[in-house]
């Protein structure tokens, strides 16, 4: 499976540090074409950073990311932008453009990258909005949407250009149970009907295990476990036990690294 042609994204020995603090210390990840790959881990393990690295917005200190055999960080600006047209990133906040309406937001990538006539753009946009159940909200401004709706609009925008793969940044975080179910169903449907490759970054175990084909567990800048959801749940390793069952303390410490409490309390600042 390692280098066969059904691998779309291949991350090899990735190192990355932000302001001196190492975030990744050599991780390897393979994303299979047409599958839903989940990257899970506690907060602060740099899951969003990984997506930005894949999108070419950040540069690794060491290691490489190949998409369809092309090294993302060796591409010229023009080729990188061409590659980005084949991918979509669904931001946690939705990141809608606040000065234009929902309709124009979804139409934005179409207008920027194609010369389609306005009537065709209208049809496409309404189809995409219909898919996320928000055709009725086309005239609203982003400020008038709830957080869950904004993320669904962002999803409609992400699929506007029919990308090859979508990266979802915490798609379930902060959603009420109903819209959580809607998003879950959408991701599954997009994956099955359009054959989209999906990468989900999340810490919601239940939802993610329900749809993911393969899960990578990140901690301390390394991949500590990988496998199908069932394998991970059954795994005896302390990492997956702690994370999959949600135990407060374990290999992943509850505390952010700090001197001991006694030392801190007794320490008098001068």
């Amino acid at each position: 499976m390692k280098t066969s042609s059904d691998t779309l994204i291949q991350v090899t020995d990735l190192h990355f540090a932000r302001s001196g603090r190492p975030i990744f210390a050599g991780i390897d990840i393979n994303v299979r074409r047409g599958a839903i790959t989940a990257i899970m881990g506690p907060s602060g393990t740099g899951k969003t950073t990984l997506l930005k690295l894949i999108g070419g917005q950040l540069h690794p200190a060491k290691g490489s990311i190949l998409i369809d055999g092309e090294n993302v960080h060796r591409l010229s600006r023009r080729r990188l932008y061409r590659l980005r047209r084949r991918m979509s990133l669904l931001f946690q906040s939705g990141a809608l453009l606040t000065d234009i309406s929902v309709f124009d937001n979804v139409a934005f990538p179409l207008r920027e990258h194609t010369d389609l006539p306005e009537s065709l753009i209208r049809d496409l946009v309404l189809t995409k909005l219909e898919a996320v159940g928000l055709r009725g909200a086309a005239k609203l401004m982003p400020a008038e949407l709830s957080g869950g709706m904004a993320r669904r609009v962002a999803l409609a925008r992400a699929i506007a250009l029919d990308p090859e793969f979508i990266m979802y940044d915490e798609p379930f975080a902060g959603q009420d149970p109903i819209s959580m179910g809607v998003v879950l169903e959408l991701i599954r449907k997009l994956n099955k009907s359009l054959g989209l490759t999906s990468i989900i970054v999340s810490h919601d175990i239940k939802e993610t295990s329900a749809i993911a084909d393969y899960i990578y567990l990140l901690a301390d800048g390394k991949v500590v476990e990988e496998g199908a959801p069932a394998e991970l749940t059954a795994s005896a390793s302390p990492w997956s036990k702690q994370f999959m069952q949600g135990l407060p303390d374990g290999p992943v410490p509850f505390h952010y690294p700090a001197p001991s409490l006694e030392e801190d309390l007794l320490h008098v600042t001068n």
Binding site: G55, Q57, R84, S88, L97, F108, A154, R157
Partner: protein, 265 residues
């Protein structure tokens, strides 16, 4: 001992400040380079530029017209009081026009522009950055420098010289209302003295060159501060303040240099 410690802390602080300054200077010029290389493709999308001319130019029109009128009126009042002592109140038109066209028009228009349009540009771009809109555009394979920054850069660069010319013209009219209408300066003398002394190629063209230079600096600072802002609400508010302060200082300093070069014979 503690003095040495404090001194070394001070040195470290100064060194850090200096490093930050040069780093920002470098980033500012890199951004300028990126803006200039994207200039031609951006000109092919006039719609975006027209929208931004509306945002930075048209919306600044009222404040420019009103301030221009008032500044011209004040100049006429003050100038008249001084000139009348020498029996030279006929020269009022010259005084008002030369002051406006050479100095106050370009400078005050640029300062008002920094407060009205520059701060808005910084806040808008900074907020787009803070809410990940710029990042989202980048991921949609749309270059935010060309799609967001450049139309604003071009629009500001076009708008400010026009606003400065409007400011000067309104000031001359304001001076006319006060000088001729209220203080009784002869109408013919007001205009003819002005026409005798103000030279298009020298005074007016140099005034316009000044405002073009100010426009470049003001828009560059505003856009850089927005694009370089810390993506938090505090960072954006600080960037907005910096835009107004830095633009004002840069405009006044540049004005001195340009005046010395143009009128310093």
């Amino acid at each position: 001992m503690s003095l040495i410690k404090q001194l070394s802390a001070l040195m470290q602080h100064l060194g850090q400040g200096g490093l930050n300054f040069f780093q920002r200077l470098g980033r500012g010029h890199l951004l300028l380079l990126q803006l200039l290389t994207g200039l031609l493709p951006s000109l092919l999308r006039p719609r975006l530029i027209i929208y931004q001319i509306y945002m930075v130019g048209v919306l600044s029109l009222i404040i420019i017209i009103v301030s221009g009128l008032f500044v011209g009126m004040v100049l006429a009042l003050q100038g008249y009081n001084t000139l009348v002592d020498f029996g030279a109140e006929e020269s009022l038109g010259t005084v008002v026009a030369l002051t406006l066209v050479r100095e106050l028009g370009p400078v005050v228009a640029a300062l008002l522009f920094a407060g009205r349009a520059g701060s808005a540009l910084t806040a808008e771009i900074g907020l787009m950055k803070a809410t990940e809109q710029l990042s989202a555009m980048e991921m949609m394979a749309v270059d935010p420098i060309r799609r967001v920054l450049l139309p604003r850069f071009i629009a500001g660069f076009i708008s400010l010289p026009m606003l400065a010319v409007i400011f000067s013209a309104m000031g001359v009219l304001g001076g006319y209302f006060i000088g001729v209408g209220l203080l009784g300066v002869d109408e013919g003398a007001y205009w003819s003295q002005m026409q005798g002394k103000v030279e298009f190629g020298h005074d007016i063209v140099n005034g316009i060159i000044k405002s073009v230079a100010f426009a470049f600096v003001a828009v560059w600072i505003a856009i850089f501060e927005g694009y370089d802002a810390q993506p938090t609400s505090e960072g954006v508010s600080r960037a907005t303040t910096r835009t107004v302060v830095h633009t004002s200082l840069a405009v006044l300093g540049l004005d001195f240099i340009l005046t010395a070069l143009m009128f310093g014979d």
